[in-house]
Amino acid sequence: MAEIACPTCGKTNPDGVAACQFCGTSFQPAPGGAAIHPGEKPVKKATAEFEGVRPKPSDDDLIRPGDPPVKKKTSELEQALPSWLKNLRGHPDQPPEPAPDEPPAPAPAGEAERVEFPDWLAGLEDDKTRVEEEQVPDWLANLRGRMQEEGEVPPAASPPDTPAAPAVDDLPREEMPGWLSRLGDGEAVLKDAVARPAIHPDENARPLPRENTSPTGAGTDQPVPEARLPGEEPDWLSRLQPEADYLPLETAGEALMPGGGLAGTPTARPGEEIPDWLAAAAGVAAAEGSPASPGGPAGVTPALIAGGEESPARTDSSLPLESPDWLSTIKPEQAPAPGPAAETGDGQVDGSLEPAQLPTWVQAMRPVESVVAAAPLGESEELPAEEQGPLAGLRGVLPAAPGMGAFRKPPAYSIKLQASEDQARNAAQLERLVAGEGQRSELPEPSLLGPARILRWVVALLLLLAVLLPVASGMQVAPDLSGYPPEMVAARNVVQDPALVPVNAPVLIAFDYEPALAGELEAAAAPLIDNLLFTGARLALVSTIPSGPALAERFMLETQSFHQYTGGEEYVNLGYLAGGPAGILDFAIDPPAAAPVTPGGADAWSLPPLAGVRELGDFTLLIIVTDSADTGRAWIEQASSHLQGRPVLMVISAQAEPMLRPYYESGQVQGLVTGLAGGKAYEQSIQRPGLGTAYWTAFSAGLFISVLIILAGGIWSLAGEPGSRKPYRVTEKP
């Protein structure tokens, strides 16, 4: 059965089908729409049908970075090589034998040069003969033999080393098909069968089935059709028969040139209108006396066809016969200068094909194995071959026309992440975590009488009772301190030492604590300041906290009212020092410049408490009252070097003691009063009860209850809920 080669995918289809079974390309000519005329607007076409043309490479075919090169056997790719290349390899150093009846053709230009074949082609020589036998069907071999005898076909059209095939006439009757043998004249039938595809211009619009040129069906696996009587012939065959009379066999021979160079070549019939472009091309060729197709009438074969190997592609039967004007005017001139030397020994026109002159590095870049191997064997024979450039000799690399040809997807490289199992597991876990973030979890509504809330109320009630009862009753059940902290004793000694703090001496006090801890620090500092005021000290109050000046006034009003100190007379409030440590340093360097006025706007350094004081060393004592370890450290770091050896005492909150006690241990601070306990101890030591004594019982009761609650909670945690203290174990979820 005859087959039809798809011009798009190159695969063969049974004769009679209207469209390609593989890619769906229609074999029927588009009614005037397939041609693209200059000036036409581009039309968007569905190209999805071409997706299935190219076989998808498998993962094994992919070349990944780092893969070692693998030597492949390329001999099996031999069938994909173009015929001209096979011929070149088969006779690298001897010209083709001319036909006996034909004058010797001039040596082609390509033959004059010594062709050197790359290594990748060297291994193909051994299988040359077998390939030639496989690829040359019997009918074609017979036909060639017949044509050579008649001297109508250039001997170069068939490989010189092709074994002589028996002519059609030489075939025994038994080997002929029935219909052929009944016809009697095999040559006439051969003329008819060969000439039919090239007769009608309308027929040229449809793809030329190569098998139509083989009426005997030789070379195909399909069963030989039964012989038909003249009356039983199909209509199309009946229409074609009369036309064989005027078709010369030479033209038919040209149509059967290897490679299908003349397949689909428009041939004018007498009385039929010849397209302008064809007439012009033929005229040019005739005028130049082109011997491109010796033995054939120059006026029949256009120059563009005889000009080179691109004819099969350009005159593909799937293309319409209509050629744009620009093409008809250009092609004859662009055709290479005809001459005897332009034709190679295999019948192909050499043109500019000079693969031997390509640099080696360019040849090395030719994607021979990858491209040829990707193309199915047999398909490449139907695809157009490139003639020049690095891709010379390869078929199907470039499309024959815009939007047509081999539609190849770029090789798909695997984007699969190369990750180990651990990495994949971690990634999955991270993905679950991220996915869990987007899930909204409903928080349980806190119940008013929940266990935690009841426990909180119980604890609060116990603490409030422990604190309120001593305050409300005025009981002093807590025992006095049996001993005094040494840092408190050191502070008291400094205050009570007349050598260090003389009578009516200026003393600088920094009130740097927040209002929230005023109760603690007032209770701690009150006995110290009270003891100091008995010496008649003149006080200068300063603060690095905006609320410090107000707290200083409150302190003097609430705790030292007994001494009847008044602002501006016995003490002066220097206000707020901005800048933190920098402000402290500024004040230590130049106190009058750093704090020139009181919060009321008066000139502070002209007031009696600061009489004779111009620098920090003029103060006999520096007392820092603070609840912050940072503030206390800043005062020590920035001011101690400007005190000129004056003592420094600190009244600090209990929470800042661990941080500031090292300064007392190192001798940078001469005394320390810490929290309510320090104030109570100081009051007890000077026998002047104050806030420390008033709060001491409540403080002791509160701490006692707190210790009990902590112990109870610890015991409950250890023994009451043993199941709730399971050891934490890191487990990985699958």
Binding site: P546, A578, E637, Q655, P662, G667
Partner: protein
């Protein structure tokens, strides 16, 4: 306390109400607690702004510009210009104009802090650590040695705990065994330090609670 309507009574009543509103957090977050917090934040910010104006900007910047001499005015222009550039930070488009003023502030603050830390803390503390075992002038030499030994061991082991240098072995990074042993001892001292901090914070909070409860009781006792 007098029951007559006086500023002291109003002040005490406001203090009492605000204290109760804050203590209402015992029953959970509620509008009274949030109102008290907002009042404290607003009053604190307003008071700080007033203090900054009356005690910093006016006496140290604008008063010299308005009534100072030529030298004071010239010197006041510099902080005024830097202050205006600092205001450019309010807008993202002009924020870069405040970079010089910000750089000046950060540079001065860093220099002051580093200098004070080195000269006021680092050197004196290192010097004091060298005298831990000096029994000269000590009332009790054994007690001084014992105390100094505890401080020495605590200092060394705590520093060893924060030494994270390790060798790279087949089983992973591994610290020196001696350093690891010292680090374990250091963990004990660190635990004691955190315990002391918690006790100090708790004692301060307990004192503040006592002061507030005492105020409430005295206020209520004065009313009735």
């Amino acid at each position: 306390m007098s029951t007559a309507l006086s500023p002291d009574l109003v002040t005490a009543a406001a203090s009492f109400l605000l204290t109760v509103m804050v203590l209402s957090y015992l029953v959970g977050d509620n509008p009274l607690f949030r109102l008290a917090v907002h009042i404290f934040v607003g009053v604190s910010a307003g008071y700080a702004g007033a203090v900054a104006w009356y005690q910093v900007l006016w006496p140290k910047l604008f008063q010299p510009l308005a009534a100072g001499g030529t030298g004071e005015r010239l010197l006041s222009i510099i902080p005024l210009g830097l202050g205006i550039l600092l205001l450019a930070k309010l807008s993202p488009r002009s924020a870069r104009l405040g970079n010089p003023a910000m750089a000046y502030l950060v540079g001065v603050a860093a220099a002051v802090a580093v200098g004070g830390a080195v000269l006021g803390t680092l050197f004196p503390q290192v010097e004091a650590s060298t005298r831990l075992l000096d029994v000269t002038g000590a009332a009790s030499a054994p007690e001084k040695l014992f105390e100094g030994s505890i401080v020495l061991v605590g200092t060394i082991t705590t520093l060893a705990y924060f030494h994270f240098g390790a060798r790279n072995t087949a089983a992973g990074p591994r610290r020196n065994r001696l350093v690891e042993l010292l680090g374990l001892v250091g963990q004990v001292f660190i635990a004691f330090a955190f315990g002391a901090l918690f006790a100090g914070v708790y004692a301060s909070a307990m004192t503040a609670l006592i002061e507030r409860v005492s105020f409430i009781w005295n206020f209520l006792a004065g009313l009735f």
